[in-house]
């Protein structure tokens, strides 16, 4: 009897540990699928119009062009408004961020402090705008499953510099697309949400044509609308250099 009790307990512990491990593995697999889906194109060229809405509902716009190769090289340049035209930034692996200010005709590596500041007056931070793979930055845990979505809690891995203490990512089960991300600050308070909509298949790839970042503290929002997109156009590595950033 005593032997059976010990055996049963061992089996129960095994099942529990195995279950937890399986849960984590599932979460990691889901996040891996998200990364694979978001970074499926070899490269992409986007033209984006942003609409910034203040708490009174006043709207201002920006237009930018974005080139990305793989999951970790991205270059962004402003096309409008006129006073921001030509400003650009280059995001490379290893938290490597370079800013170009045409008025000074210079590029400069920017400090990590800039990553958590607002990107050109939008509700996105430079960190939000970086090219990245979530699996490299976050440890996921599956916290909710329903018929349509999974919800993952993402905790930054050790050594990752970020102002967010956790993210809640809602992923559409049908295509692994993250339809909503909630961002939490150091006090554990939800401070921003990113919602993706108008998700369409362009060629072989899924893409949200509209995203909306809402700052819950300031009650402002920024909508990004992709007006033009091209995939797998063979963007050269030379594009992701300071030489190109200054052109």
């Amino acid at each position: 009897m005593k032997k059976n009790l010990v055996l049963s307990s061992l089996i129960l512990v095994f099942i529990m540990i195995h279950g937890v491990t399986m849960g984590q593995k599932d979460a990691m697999q889901i996040l891996q699928n998200v990364d694979n889906m978001l970074n499926a194109p070899k490269d992409q060229s986007l033209t984006v119009v942003t609409y910034i809405v203040d708490r009174r509902g006043n709207e201002s716009t920006r237009e930018l062009t974005m080139l990305q190769k793989g999951s970790d090289k991205r270059i962004v340049k402003f096309l409008a408004p006129a006073d921001q035209k030509g400003i650009g930034f280059l995001s490379l692996p290893g938290d490597n961020l370079t800013l170009y200010m045409p008025a000074y005709r210079k590029t400069r590596k920017v400090g990590g402090h800039v990553k958590n500041t607002k990107f050109a007056g939008t509700d996105y931070t430079y960190e939000d705008m970086e090219a990245k793979r979530y699996t490299e930055r976050y440890d996921p845990e599956l916290i909710e499953t329903n018929n349509d979505n999974w919800v993952l809690e993402l905790i930054p891995k050790d050594g990752i510099r970020t102002d967010y203490t956790k993210l809640h990512m809602t992923i559409r089960r049908s295509d692994n697309y993250p339809v909503k991300i909630a961002y939490f600050d150091k006090a554990g308070v939800m401070v921003k949400t990113l919602e993706s909509s108008n998700i369409q298949k362009t060629g072989e790839y899924w893409l949200a044509r509209q995203t909306k970042m809402t700052d819950l503290k300031t009650k402002t929002s920024t909508k990004m609308e992709i007006t033009n997109v091209k995939f797998d156009i063979g963007i050269n590595d030379d594009v992701f250099t300071e030489r190109y950033l200054m052109r």
Partner: protein, 475 residues
Amino acid sequence: MKRIFLLLLWLGLQIFGFAQEYGGASDYFGSVLENLNWDGYFYSDDRFGVTSPNKKMMFQEYRLSLKPSVKTRRTAFSSEIWVRSMPGGSITSYTQLSDRKKTFLTDVELREAWFEVYDIFAKGLDLRIGKQRIAWGTADRLNPTDNINPYDLEDIWDFGRHLSSNSAKLTYYKNNFYVSGVFVPAFSPSAAPDMEWMSAFMPEFSMPDEYDFNGINYKLINKSFDDFLLMPDKTIKKSSTMGLRTGLNIGSFNLSASFAHSFDVMPSPSKAHLTDVERVQDKNILSYNLDVELKYPRMNILGFDFAGSLATVGVWGEAALFFPEIIQMAVDMRYMGLNIRVMDSTVIDNKPYLKYVLGLDYTFPHNIYANFQYLHGFFHENGTAGLNDYFVLAADWKVFQEKLKISPFNFCIQVNDWSDLSNEYAWILLPEVTYQPAGGVELTAGARIINGTGSTMFGKLKDKDHVLLKCKISF
């Protein structure tokens, strides 16, 4: 001349080559016209003095900047034209009112116009020719290594503003490494500020106040002063500026090293002529007119700069080691029946001296940004003993989605002599508020409050406190 002709011919062939890539010259120029962009801005700047005796309009500029530019796959053209209206004040008679050049002072200036060809000789090799700004250094507006273009000091508060130079720049890029050579064939001087502000940058020298002649001691009194600015000979050797800069990225840092064969920013007195020497009323007093020759000393400058991130703090630094040409002032007293006499007055020693700047910036919560720099040696200072210390803080708080920028604590402190701080200091407070009522529109109100001792650069301007109103509309 033959070489220049060959170079122009070769460039023409290159452009022809590009045209062929576009399917012919008409297609190429069609592509150029299709890609022509017209950007620009309107800018107004009004400043009103608030301290006696300068309670008046101190500065006014209305500027229209036009920036036509073209980019094609392998070429680029960029330019900037300023059309400006500046206050006149040169009218002295009723009849001059019909002279529009005197009643409306409009100034048209080609600030930049250059043409660039990418991958010209080989992949990664870019050539840019034309009137261009070559900005070296990584610090924020205070750049000791930025010595290719002359300074534009017309507005001394627009720190770091330079004129463009007619020049050629050839840069080779390979991965995250580059090397760039610059050649400016002809010297052009820095633009000086208005006479009211000039005192801050005027080169200082002293003349003897007495002189022994035939056993009699004469007191010397200066009646008038005039200066003659000697420009370098127009030969390539004597007039050109050239430089080499190389840099690379290591991790999250930019590093670069440079060499420039250039000129000092401000001219130095090299010879003084005493003319119209007269004895005053049979006393042992001689009065004279003073004519001073000024020349631009040659400088060789070795530079190093870096910028990057330590933890989350942005850091940068620049150092420039100057190897100046020695300048000794000679006093010509031939008008007193004497030969030239070289006084023991070395204006610029040929000993090397080091200027440097260290800076850091950080963004605090609530969008508060601070930028601090320590500078040893302002752009016009030279000689180890002539370099002063400057501490500059720029801090702003952006609110309402960056539509309002409040900068109450911008300041600069100058210290000339740490052992005599009470007599050798100056400070400036530069509070500003900037509001963006609409995209591309920027309104700025601010003040510049200056205090300090008369021996310091900014102390010389202490009676020029002013308030300002600026407007910029970009299109």
